[in-house]
């Protein structure tokens, strides 16, 4: 049952050597501004403390169980906000599966949090519904969350990340690290307002999974929009030089607008298209966030 997370962990260890991993851990831990996660001290174990908070090494050298104090007091919450609509049953600009890439990004971030002793919750859904999970800090829980994203494949509802963001604004009062995993759906004024509101309360990171480049699809492929599966998209028209030029210009304008919006709101942002880049981009994202808005 831990298939998804195991694969993600394998990918992280294969592609990241120790230094990178340490860096990644450090990047993650420093995401929470003003909350040092440095080791404070140890105290005696009191019944009711979580078993996993016990510092086993210290306990081994001591007569009684010792508990890491900082963890017990400073447990953070990572909120993975994922668009799990049918827009993710498509391919990225690198030809990878959007949903699996979203799961990979969520899994990597979540794994970092779990290893760090933080709780992870998942808020996912589409334009019609939002599903929120409980907050827990175990790998099994994370696996379960990832499976939830996977289980949404084949849904017939379009996505709207604004729905999920609004849900958080309406339901969650305590501070969280919010990692949004969305696609290239345009960010309008409505989204801007919601993001602004969330930004005031939470730490926010934004991961955009880039959509297929419609002007550069392979000639032999038979593309169709997931929202209108019965109608194909005409390759010959889309790769027409004039149309392509117009598309490239429009895409660049949209991308600029999204980047400007997120920058303006002080939200670190990264774009991912390929599972190979996932870890590197996540690293860069955390790095940028720590450097940028401190």
């Amino acid at each position: 049952m831990t298939a998804l997370l195991n694969r993600i962990k394998a990918r992280m260890t294969i592609h990241a050597h120790r230094r990178t991993r340490r860096l990644l851990d450090g990047d993650y831990s420093s995401v929470f501004h003003g909350h040092s996660l440095d080791f404070d001290d140890l105290r005696d174990y009191i019944p009711g403390d979580e078993i996993r908070d016990i510092d086993w090494k210290a306990t081994a050298r001591h007569a009684d169980p010792l508990v890491k104090r900082y963890v017990a007091h400073r447990r953070h919450i990572l909120a993975l906000v994922v668009d799990s609509s049918r827009g993710f049953d498509a391919i990225t600009s690198a030809g990878a599966d959007k949903r699996h890439l979203a799961i990979l990004m969520a899994g990597m971030t979540g794994y970092l949090a779990v290893r760090h002793g933080d709780d992870v919750m998942l808020i996912h859904g589409n334009a019609e519904q939002t599903i929120a999970s409980p907050r827990k800090g175990s790998e099994a829980h994370l696996e379960n969350l990832l499976q939830q994203i996977l289980a949404e494949s084949g849904t017939a509802v379009d996505g709207s990340i604004n729905t999920q963001l609004k849900w958080i604004a309406d339901h969650i009062t305590h501070r969280m690290l919010v990692v949004v995993i969305s696609d290239q759906a345009p960010l309008g004024p409505e989204e801007e307002a919601t993001i602004k509101r969330l930004r005031a309360q939470h730490e926010m990171l934004w991961i955009t999974i880039t959509d297929a480049d419609l002007a550069e699809l392979a000639t032999a492929s038979a593309p169709y929009d997931v929202a209108r599966a019965e109608v194909g998209l005409p390759i010959s028209v889309m790769s027409d030089p004039k149309v392509r030029g117009e598309f490239v210009a429009a895409e660049a304008a949209r991308r600029r607008q999204r980047l400007d919006l997120l920058t303006k709101l002080g939200i670190s942002h990264t774009e991912v298209a390929d599972p190979e880049q996932a870890l590197g981009n996540l690293h860069a994202l955390l790095w940028r966030h720590r450097r940028g808005s401190r």
Binding site: L214, P223, A229, V237
Partner: protein, 324 residues
């Protein structure tokens, strides 16, 4: 205008429909790419323009293909103009039976002229001519080649007018020296009757029997016997005799021959004779010949095949345009 092989065209049309159904572009296959937010592309005005252009090109392409296919199918269906020919007249045989004995020589040229008029009035009947004196000669067999008949009749008339120096001379060939007598009327009639062909067919047969009935010699068949043969053969005898003031026994005999065979007796010279003979023969035949129609098919493939050829050229041109 009918389509002779409409079933073939229909079958091909059904096959074409099945082929289109089977080989049409599959909706979604394993190799299909799912993409999201295609509105990024499809909302572009340039894309819409290009789509409209492609739509028009495709529609034109399909139209040309359809026209070409329909033209080819129409050609395959063998469009034809079918003419139904009423064969009634063609079942009539008329044998002109001419006595060229010495006593008739003075009349024969006029008779032949009268025959030519007679031929002019016929349409579709087969005409033959047999001349006889001591023996009978088939001048031409039953035929519907009226030009040839006219030629023969003109030459024969010329022959009689010039006493054999020009045209065809029948007096010599019909009185060989080894046969005694002349103007063997009964033999002549039997020969004429015998010259009808296709005896197994149900045709109407008439003899226009021009003679003065002046027998000289010993015939093999008496006129009475010949009449019986005519009746047995179902041949009507229309006799045509030179005008005579006296109602002779010869004329009486001829009248009885005609009456017994269902024909009629006419006198030469009266202006209405030819008209009466023709109308008499034709009215008789009309009630006697069964209608057995047959059809002539004129193929008319030019228009559909031309459409198909030009359509094919159009298909190639458009295919080249679409590719480039």
């Amino acid at each position: 205008m009918v389509l002779m092989l409409w079933w073939l065209a229909l079958g091909l049309l059904v096959l074409a429909g099945i082929a289109v159904f089977v080989f049409r572009r599959p909706r979604r296959t394993e190799s299909s790419l799912a993409v999201a937010h295609s509105g990024r592309m499809t909302q572009l005005p340039g894309f819409r323009r290009a789509m409209r252009r492609k739509f028009l090109t495709t529609a034109a392409f399909l139209g040309v293909i359809a026209i070409t296919g329909l033209g080819a199918l129409a050609g395959v269906a063998r469009p034809a103009w079918v003419e139904t020919v009423n064969p009634e007249k063609k079942l009539r045989d008329v044998m002109l039976c001419l006595d060229v004995s010495g006593s008739m020589l003075g009349y024969d040229a006029d008779l032949l002229a009268a025959y030519q008029q007679l031929v002019d009035r016929f349409d579709g009947e087969r005409i033959g001519m047999t001349v006889f004196n001591a023996t009978a000669v088939s001048a031409f067999p039953l035929t519907d080649d009226y030009d040839m008949v006219q030629n023969y009749l003109e030459e024969a008339e010329q022959g009689f007018r010039t006493w054999g120096s020009e045209g065809t001379d029948y007096s010599w060939s019909t009185s060989p020296p080894n046969i005694g007598g002349s103007s063997l009327i009964g033999d002549g009639l039997v020969s004429c009757i015998d010259n009808f062909d296709r005896k197994d067919e149900d045709r109407s047969r008439s003899v226009v029997f021009a003679t003065d009935n002046m027998l000289a010699g010993e015939p093999l068949f008496e006129l009475d016997e010949a009449t019986n043969i005519a009746i047995d053969a179902g041949v009507r005898v229309y006799s045509l005799s030179p005008p005579s003031i006296l109602a002779t026994t010869q004329t009486q005999e001829l009248r009885s021959v005609s009456d017994r065979t269902g024909g009629e007796q006419f006198e030469m010279g009266s202006a209405t004779t030819i008209d009466r003979i023709v109308s008499e023969i034709q009215s008789q035949e009309a009630e006697n010949t069964p209608g057995r129609s047959y059809t002539i098919v004129h193929d008319m493939p030019a228009v559909p095949l031309a459409i198909a050829v030009f359509g094919l050229i159009g298909v190639f041109v458009l295919a080249w345009r679409v590719r480039s």
